[in-house]
């Protein structure tokens, strides 16, 4: 291989690599999309056995037969507080339904007192589950709060909503899942 041709090949190769790099960088988006994906979707929900703030036992397996909505919550997290009224509305609507979905709050990295005080002030009488050591959050793969999960009556994970709920989103998603559930 002559020196000229070798040099030209190297120059060409460098140019190709540079153009490729530029294309990749131009395409790179600074906003990684919020992935509501999870490897747990369509899988049996991870086991949860814990106590509620009222010191009653809670076992997720026992809730089979009903739709279960888990909301991961922290009393200082701003989007959690923002979505709280929507959860109150949801709970009120479900209370009147025949096949009512059960709403549970999973406490994330927060003290019992703070959560109890929050619910005292802002309302919401559904059970709040303690998460000792954060193991429930880890078994669901929760990195940031708030997150809302829907589990079907057979105990399978059907939906994950990451981030603050928007108006009517939870009701809409749940009714879609209900109608497709046979």
């Amino acid at each position: 291989m002559s020196q000229r041709r070798g040099a030209r090949m190297i120059a060409m190769a460098t140019l190709v690599v540079m153009v490729g790099l530029l294309l990749v960088l131009v395409n790179a988006s600074p906003n990684p999309s919020e992935n509501a994906d999870s490897p747990l979707l369509g899988q049996p929900a991870p086991a949860i056995e814990t106590t509620t703030l009222d010191n009653k036992q809670f076992n997720l397996a026992r809730r089979k037969g009903s739709w279960v909505v888990l909301n991961f919550f922290n009393s200082t997290c701003v989007p959690c507080r923002n979505e709280h009224p929507l959860l109150l509305e949801f709970a009120a609507t479900e209370a009147l339904a025949t096949d009512k979905a059960e709403l549970y709050t999973v406490i994330n990295d927060d003290s019992d007192e703070a959560v109890a005080a929050y619910f005292q002030t802002f309302g919401g009488d559904w059970p709040k589950l303690r998460d000792q050591n954060g193991s429930i959050a880890i078994s669901f793969g929760i990195a940031k709060v708030p997150e809302t999960w829907i589990i079907d009556p057979n105990g399978y994970v059907r939906l994950r909503i990451a981030g603050q709920l928007s108006d009517g989103l939870l009701e809409e998603q749940l009714s879609a899942l209900r109608s497709s559930f046979g």
Binding site: G6, L40, N133, S135, I138
Partner: protein, 158 residues
Amino acid sequence: MMITKSKVKQPTVWVVMLIIVGLLLAVGASRDGGPRTQQERVDAISKRLACPTCQGESVYVSRASASVSLREEIARQVGSGTRSDDQIVAYVEQRFGGQVLLVPRSSGLDALVWALPVAALICALVGLISAFRRWKVSATAEISDAERELVQKALDDF
């Protein structure tokens, strides 16, 4: 620069030195580093996982609360002694998704990140070898008859 023709620096001495090095390396490399503490096992596992909220830092490095609770969970599982390192990593991956793995998998597109440096190394070695060979060839250049005539003519004119 004078090169002392010392007997000590003969090739045989170097062979002996190489053998000594080989022996030392063999002794050291086969040695066990000692039992790992539980904390060291936790550290090793958390170095293989990425913090789910930080995008880039490992669970070992990150001080975020998600990392802290992950480290605690890993510590719990290590403490219970039921799972191996790989099983614990798989446990976390099952829940948080593939993006939590810090070591790219060796299959699919991810394998490129391991393969490309090796390919680059091979290209580099091939390039170096061919360059050296080319230089050796040009160092022993042939003189053509026309060039000899030219030189002869110039000498005659001089």
